[in-house]
Amino acid sequence: MTVMDQQTPAAAIVDAEEERRARQKRVMAIAKWTLPSLVMVIVLGAWQAYVTIAEVPHYILPSPLLIFTTIFADWELLWPAMMATGRLTFLALIMAVVGGLAIAVAFTQSKWVEMAMFPYAVILQVTPVVAIAPLLQIYIDSAFLAALLCAWIVAFFPILSNTTIGLKSADHNLEDLFTIYGANRWQRLRFLQAPSALPFFLGGLKIAGGLALIGAVVAEFVIGRAGTGLGLASTLLEASYRFNFGRLYAALILISVMGVAIFGLMSLISYLCLFRWHESTLKREQ
């Protein structure tokens, strides 16, 4: 009997076939970075050329170079804005995790709670947040809380829905085993249902991270700078009023950067939680 699927470290390359495969692997590793970069260079180059040659005014379409220099020139303004949006996003995400998990656990502990509440969770999710946000602004005095709630509503559902499915998808034989060994409800939740739900939860977390940012941006648009101080989305909106398209694009790019960073962070958390045992992180021999 052998231990399966363990990578042999520094396996000696013996024949041409393996050498070919190793070379292909190296090429793939390089292409993974160079190809997207190449696309970016071509697109930006074409954009820059078009703006320069056609003499497009910067208040219609700023050149990439102008956007790039604006990021640095306006850094004093953009950095605090990014922090403001980031704070709102992360607070909303943390609350979405806490709230989503708590409601998911309540749902799986009591069928009655789920029956009573699930439709409302769905309604909250399917109603466009842009439509709810103005109401929140009216009923909640603190603009920051209104913005936070707005972002939370968008972000919590994938966590709730994924975790609920995860908590219910524990192996049936393991459920039986826990029954035979007299596990109580808490032990069942902690040692069986929660670990079974972990991959599902982490999948929901990846989606929720991006949605929290979208929720924060919507909140800034609708509730305005009163909510977060001057966030990136408010900056973007203001720049558009002033025809400062360099700043508008700079803010837009920073929002994208934040989205990518959040996704990267969530993927990292997911990997760290799963790489030891979960099938999804298993590297298989081709």
Partner: protein, 261 residues
């Protein structure tokens, strides 16, 4: 620590099942009038086609299901950890290391790892996996996972071990190996085993009692004793004696299938 067993017929009773009936959804009779006494040290195989209620019988004994009528009695009562169970799949927690999987029965009783570490390692040693205590299930082959499952079932030193077609999903070679190892284990720790299988050859090789069951409705149609001495080795598999028992069991199973059809 080899244990000695009384000869068949002189063993004290461990478990009585009397007039067990199990009906599903009102009219599907899974088991009809099952009467079975399991004695201490028995290796009982429940042999039969699918739908004969052999797995249902196991679930009734384990307490996962209640009989529609009839009684199941443990002589001397059923204590904590008196029962171990092995399913058809290894049923390990993929997120837990091998040793933590084996720790589970104790953990659910509130016992810390430190307090039962010796038992856990002893159980892993019994199945030959003491070197893999820190591995995760996905790193193990199918046979090894099943061994971990057996170690987990044995770690509480149960008086009764229930096995529900545990080797059915394994290849022939691994299955033979695990059959041999299971018998060696049983000689070492001396627990009583109820083994569900649909393989005539497996049941003859392993057990000293075979209960042949028929389907629709699930019932016992024949009880036979495999009165061949233990330890049984690979040589037993090719002996005339083994062949004789196998044809008896096959014939009984044929009757079971014929009646069912």
């Amino acid at each position: 620590m080899t244990t000695t067993r009384a000869p068949l017929g002189q063993r004290p009773a461990l478990l009585d099942m009397a007039h067990i009936e199990k009906t599903f959804k009102g009219d599907v009779i899974a088991l009809r009038d099952l009467n079975l006494t399991v004695n201490q040290g028995d290796f009982v195989s429940l042999l039969g086609p699918s739908g004969c209620g052999k797995s249902t019988a196991l679930r009734l004994i384990s307490g996962l299901m209640q009989p529609t009528s009839g009684q199941i009695n443990w002589h001397g009562g059923q204590g904590d950890g008196d029962l171990g169970i092995v399913f058809q799949e290894p049923t390990l927690m993929p997120w837990a290391k091998v040793k933590d999987n084996v720790w589970l029965p104790f953990r659910l009783r509130g016992q810390t790892y430190a307090s039962v570490k010796d038992d856990v390692l002893e159980a892993l040693k019994l199945v030959g996996l003491e070197d893999f205590q820190n591995a995760y299930p996905r790193e193990l082959s199918g046979g090894m996972k099943m061994r971990v499952s057996i170690a987990r079932a044995l770690v509480t030193r149960p008086r009764l071990l229930l096995m529900d077609e545990p080797f059915a999903a394994l290849d022939e070679i691994t299955r033979h190996k695990l059959n041999n190892d299971l018998l060696a284990l049983r000689d070492k720790i001396g627990c009583t085993i109820i083994f569900v299988t649909h393989s005539v050859y497996e049941s003859v090789f392993l057990s000293d009692r075979i209960i042949v069951m028929a389907a629709r409705p699930g019932r016992v149609i024949r009880e036979m004793e495999v009165d061949a001495p233990y330890p049984r080795t690979e040589a037993f598999r090719t002996s005339a004696e083994y062949g004789g028992f196998a044809s008896q069991a096959s014939a009984a199973l044929h009757t079971a299938m014929g009646e069912a059809a």
